[in-house]
C-alpha cells in the first residue's frame, strides 16, 4: 500500500526580549545557575507577574510577516501541572485567545517546488526552568534562570507531507524570525526548538491517521531523521496489523529511534483557566500600523527584488535570501563590485560555497569577506583579470593574502594587452604553419589549438575574448 505522511509542527521561538516575560530579570544565556531568577521567577508567595509588552510587539511582527490575524484582545491562561522546574506549579501561556491567529507562509521545498503551509496560531508563553539530572549524585539540580523566558509558540496546520517539507518549513520560520530580529534562533542554546506531530494514512484517504508527537527537536538534521524513523515505525506497525496510539515520543539521536514518553491516558489534565493576575493584552490598530511601518524587508520580498534587480533565477534568489547572513553577504558583495549581482551570485554559490563546504565552515566564518569578493568581481567585470586568474586570486584571498588588487600586484597577474599579445600570436602562427593550413582549408577545430598555445605562452593572462578576436583576424586567408 502507498502511504501519505502528514506532519504539523509546533515551533518554540525564544523572543529576543532583554528581560523576562513577567519580570525584570535578565534573559541572557549562560549565567551561573539561579542567578537570573528574581522573586517573581522563583514563584515566591505573594509575587505577581507584570507583562513585558516587548513580547507582544515581537509576536505581532511575526504575525504580520505571515499575513496572520492579530487579536485586538488576547488572554493569558494558566496551564497547571507539577514539576520541580516549574516554580509556580503552572505555566502562564495563551490558550483560548492567542495574540496571533491564522496565516500562511511559502516554503521552498527544492529547486523547482514551492509550497504554502498554513499557520494555525502563534501564542506567547513563559519558558520553564531546567532540571539537571547529571552531576548531582542521584539527585536533580534545578536551574531557574530560564524560568519566565518569553517564548512564541508557532503552530502550523498539518500541511506538510514529508520530512523534507517539514525541514523546509522549519528553516523558513527560522530565517523569518532572524530577519525580523525577534529571536537569535540559536538552536544549541534552545532558542529555537520544535515538536512534530506525525501521522500516516493510505494515499487518497481523507481522514487523518492517529498522530504521535515527537518532542523537543532542536536541529534541522534531527527533525528530518526523527520524522523519517517515526514514519517508518508507524507504517511498519500498521502493516504488521498493529495500531498507532496517540502519544508523546522522544527522539534518541544516538540510536536513531523514537521512544514512547507518555500515552494519551497518562497525559496531564492541565486545567487551563484565564490567569486572574494578568489583564488581557489589548492591541490597538495604531500599534499594529506602527509595527507594520517598522518591518524590515522580508525573505520573500528580498527574493523578488533579487530576481528583478539582478536578473537572478528563482532558486538562486531563494537561496541567497534564505538567511539574514547570506542575503547580507550578497548585498555587501554586490555593493563592493559596483552592482554586479549576477556575477556575485555565481561566485557566492560557486567558488565560495564550494570552499565553505570543503572546510565545513559557515558563511560568517568565510575568510573571503563580501568586500573582498566584490573587489574581485569588479576586476573580472572590467576585464582586469581573466576568469582563470580570478580563481587563483580567490584562492589567495581564501588564504588571507589580501585584496584582489594586492594579490594581482604581488604575483604580477596582469592581463596582457593587444600590443603584447600580437607578437606572440605572430610567432605562434609562424611556428605552426601545418596547423594554419589545416584551419584555412576548413578544419575549424584547429582554432582551439591556437587559443591554447596563446594562453600557454601568456601564462593565462590574456583575455580569451581578445585572443579569439586577434587569432580570427590573423588566421583569415
Amino acid at each position: 500500500m502507498e502511504w501519505e505522511v502528514v506532519i504539523g509542527l509546533e515551533i518554540h521561538v525564544q523572543l529576543a526580549c532583554k528581560s523576562k516575560i513577567f519580570s525584570g530579570a535578565s534573559t541572557a544565556f549562560g549565567a551561573e545557575p539561579n542567578t537570573q531568577a528574581c522573586a517573581v521567577d522563583l514563584g515566591l508567595p505573594g509575587v505577581l507577574p507584570v507583562f513585558n509588552g516587548e513580547a507582544a510587539k515581537m509576536s505581532i511582527k511575526f504575525g504580520l510577516a505571515c499575513g496572520c490575524e492579530i487579536a485586538q484582545r488576547s488572554i493569558f491562561a494558566r496551564k497547571n501541572y507539577f514539576y520541580p522546574d516549574l516554580p509556580k506549579g503552572y505555566q502562564t501561556s495563551q490558550y483560548e485567545i492567542p495574540i496571533v491567529g491564522k496565516g500562511q507562509i511559502e516554503i521552498q521545498v527544492d529547486e523547482n517546488t514551492t509550497k504554502v503551509v498554513g499557520i494555525t496560531r502563534a501564542h506567547m508563553e513563559e519558558d520553564a526552568g531546567k532540571s539537571l539530572h547529571e552531576d548531582f549524585a542521584g539527585m536533580t539540580g534545578i536551574d531557574l534562570n530560564r524560568a519566565g523566558t518569553p517564548l512564541l509558540e508557532i503552530v502550523s496546520e498539518p500541511d506538510m507531507r514529508s520530512a523534507k517539507e517539514a525541514v523546509a518549513y522549519m528553516r523558513k520560520i527560522h530565517s523569518l524570525v532572524r530577519y525580523l530580529g525577534i529571536s537569535d534562533g540559536n538552536m544549541q542554546e534552545g532558542s529555537f526548538r520544535c515538536d512534530a506531530n506525525v501521522s500516516v494514512r493510505p494515499m487518497g484517504q481523507k481522514e487523518f491517521g492517529t498522530r504521535a508527537e515527537i518532542k523537543n527537536l532542536n536541529s534541522f538534521k534531527f527533525i528530518e531523521k526523527a520524522i523519517n524513523v517515526e514514519v517508518e515505525r508507524q507504517i511498519d506497525l500498521i502493516e504488521a496489523g498493529g495500531e498507532v496510539v496517540q502519544e508523546t515520543r522522544l527522539y534518541d539521536s544516538d540510536k536513531d529511534e523514537t521512544r514512547s514518553m507518555r500515552t494519551k491516558e497518562e497525559a496531564n489534565d492541565y486545567r487551563y483557566f484565564p490567569c486572574p493576575d494578568l489583564l488581557p493584552v489589548v492591541i490597538s490598530d495604531e500599534v499594529v500600523t506602527e509595527i507594520q511601518g517598522s518591518m524590515p524587508e522580508l525573505p520573500d520580498e528580498k527574493k523578488a527584488r533579487f530576481m528583478e534587480q539582478f536578473d537572478l533565477g528563482s532558486y538562486d534568489a531563494s537561496l541567497l535570501s534564505s538567511s539574514v547572513e547570506s542575503a547580507g553577504y550578497f548585498e555587501k558583495a554586490v555593493d563592493a563590485s559596483g552592482g554586479e549581482g549576477k556575477l556575485c551570485a555565481n561566485w557566492i554559490m560557486g567558488e565560495l560555497q564550494a570552499s565553505l563546504n570543503r572546510e565545513d565552515m559557515e558563511l560568517e566564518q568565510s575568510p573571503v569577506t563580501p568586500d573582498l569578493l566584490g573587489g574581485l568581481v569588479k576586476k573580472i567585470k572590467d576585464k582586469s583579470v581573466t576568469s582563470k586568474i580570478a580563481k587563483k586570486v580567490f584562492e589567495a584571498m581564501w588564504n588571507d593574502e589580501g585584496t584582489a588588487d594586492e594579490i594581482v600586484e604581488k604575483y604580477g597577474w596582469k592581463p596582457a594587452d593587444a600590443s603584447e599579445i600580437e607578437p606572440i600570436i605572430d610567432e605562434i602562427i609562424a611556428n605552426n604553419q601545418a596547423q594554419v593550413e589545416q584551419y584555412r582549408s576548413g578544419k575549424e577545430k584547429v582554432f582551439g589549438f591556437f587559443v591554447g598555445q596563446v594562453m600557454k605562452a601568456t601564462k593565462g593572462q590574456a583575455d580569451p575574448a581578445q585572443v579569439n578576436q586577434l587569432l580570427k583576424s590573423k588566421l583569415a586567408p
Partner: protein
Amino acid sequence: MHKKTLAQLSAALQAKEISSVELTQEFLARAKQFNEQTNAYITITEDLALQQAKEADARIAAGNTQALTGIPLAHKDIFCTDGIKTSCGSKMLDSFIAPYNATVIEKFNAAGAICLGKANMDEFAMGSSNENSFYGVVKNPWDLNCVPGGSSGGSAAVVAARMAAAATGTDTGGSIRQPASFCGISGIKPTYGRVSRYGMIAYASSLDQGGPMAQSAEDLAMMLEVMAGFDPKDSTSAQKDVPQYSAAMNDSLEGVKIGLPKEYFGEGLDAEVATVVETAIEEYKKLGVEFAEVSLPNTHLSVPAYYVVAPAECSSNLSRFDGARFGHRCEDPKDLEDMYKRSRGEGFGEEVTRRILVGTYALSAGYYDAYYLKAQKTRRLISDDFKKAFADVDLILGPTAPTTAFGIGSKTDDPISMYLSDIYTIAVNLAGIPAMSIPAGMAGGKPVGLQLIGNYFDEAKLLNAAHKYQQVTDWHQQMPEGF
C-alpha cells in the same frame, strides 16, 4: 493612650506629648499581655518595633513626618515582611522568612508606621472564624468563648482589644468586614485594584483585596490613604489617583440616597441583628438620608459562585507550595511524587485541602464549563445587580453578617453553615466593589456590624457616611471588658 484614635495619637506624637518609643512600648506591653487570652498575634516583632520607633522619633524630631509616623500597627500575617516569618496561618509556611516586603508594608514603612507584629488568621485566608489557623483559634475579646470571625480574625481582635492602634486585613469574601462586625470595630474592603496585592499571599486572585481595620471610619481613612494607590508590580491595581479620604469625611448626608436590598433582610437574619440595623437606619434618617428598597435578585447565587471561583483560583495559586523551594518539606521523600504528596498533605490544613480539591475538580476537563464558566457568568449577573441598584441609590446598607460572633467549635463540623455566615459579604467581592462594616449596636452582649456598600471607587462616600454615623453614635468607642 490606647483608647485614642489615630488622629489623636498622631497629634500627641507631633506635639511630643509622648514619644513613639513610649507609645510602642505601651502597645507592646498590651500585645504581650492580652495575646495569652486572645492568641491574636502569631508573631510579635518587639525588636523591629522598637527600632522603627526610634527612627520615627528621629523623623518627628526632624519634622519629617506623615500622619502615621510613629504609630504602632499590626499586619495580617498574609503580607510578606522582609526578614520576618510570614506564615499565612499555615504549617506550610511555619518556617518561611519572607525575603521581601509587600507593597502595603513598604508603604507603611515609608510613612514611618511601626510594625508591632503579625496577626493571626485562618490558614491562607480560608475561613470565617479563625478556627482554621495552624496557630490556633483567636478568641473574641468580647466573649472569649466565641470566634472573632475570619479570616482576618487576629487583626480584628488586635484592634478590639487595642493591642495595636490599627491593623491591616484582607478580604476575599468578607474577611475584613465579618470579623470587624464580630469584634465591634470598623473595617473597609476597598474596590478591587485599589490596594496593591503585591506581596499579599494569594488566595483567590480575582477577589482578594487588602484593607484597613481600625476603631473608626476616620482612622480607616488615614490608613487607606497610605495603603491605596497604583503599583507597577500589580497589573490589576488601578491607575487612579487616591483621593484625600479624610477631607470629605464631614460632608453632609442631606439628600444622600441609600438602598436597602430586600434580599439582605430575609430568612436567616437574626432578629436582634435586624433590630440593630433598623435602629441604625433611623439614625441615618435623622442625618437627612433617604432610603429606598432595592433588589439584588442574584444574591442567593453568590455563595455557590464564590465557592467555585475562589477554590478554582486557590487550587492553582497554592500549587507553588510543593516542598521544592520553600515552605514545609516532608522528611526523607522517596521520590518526587512522594515529596509532593506528603509535603502538601502535611503542610495544608483540612479546609485548605478541601478548597484545593474542590477547585481542582471545578477546573477539570469536562467540568470546567459546568462549574467555572457558569460561576463566572453568575458573577456577571451579580455585578449587574449592583450596577442596576447604583443607578438609583448612592450607597447600599444592610447587616454585615446574619448573626453575631458564634461559639468556638459550633460550626466546625458544618462547612455549609459556616460558609453562609458570609452570605451578605461575598457578592461585594464577586462584583469588585467597596464595602465596609462599622459597629452599630449590641445583641446578647456581642457587637453587631452594619454594612455599607458603595459603587466602584466610592470609598470616600462610604467613609463619609460611616463617619457621620460615628459622630452621632458611640458604638465604635466601646471596648470589651477586661482589656
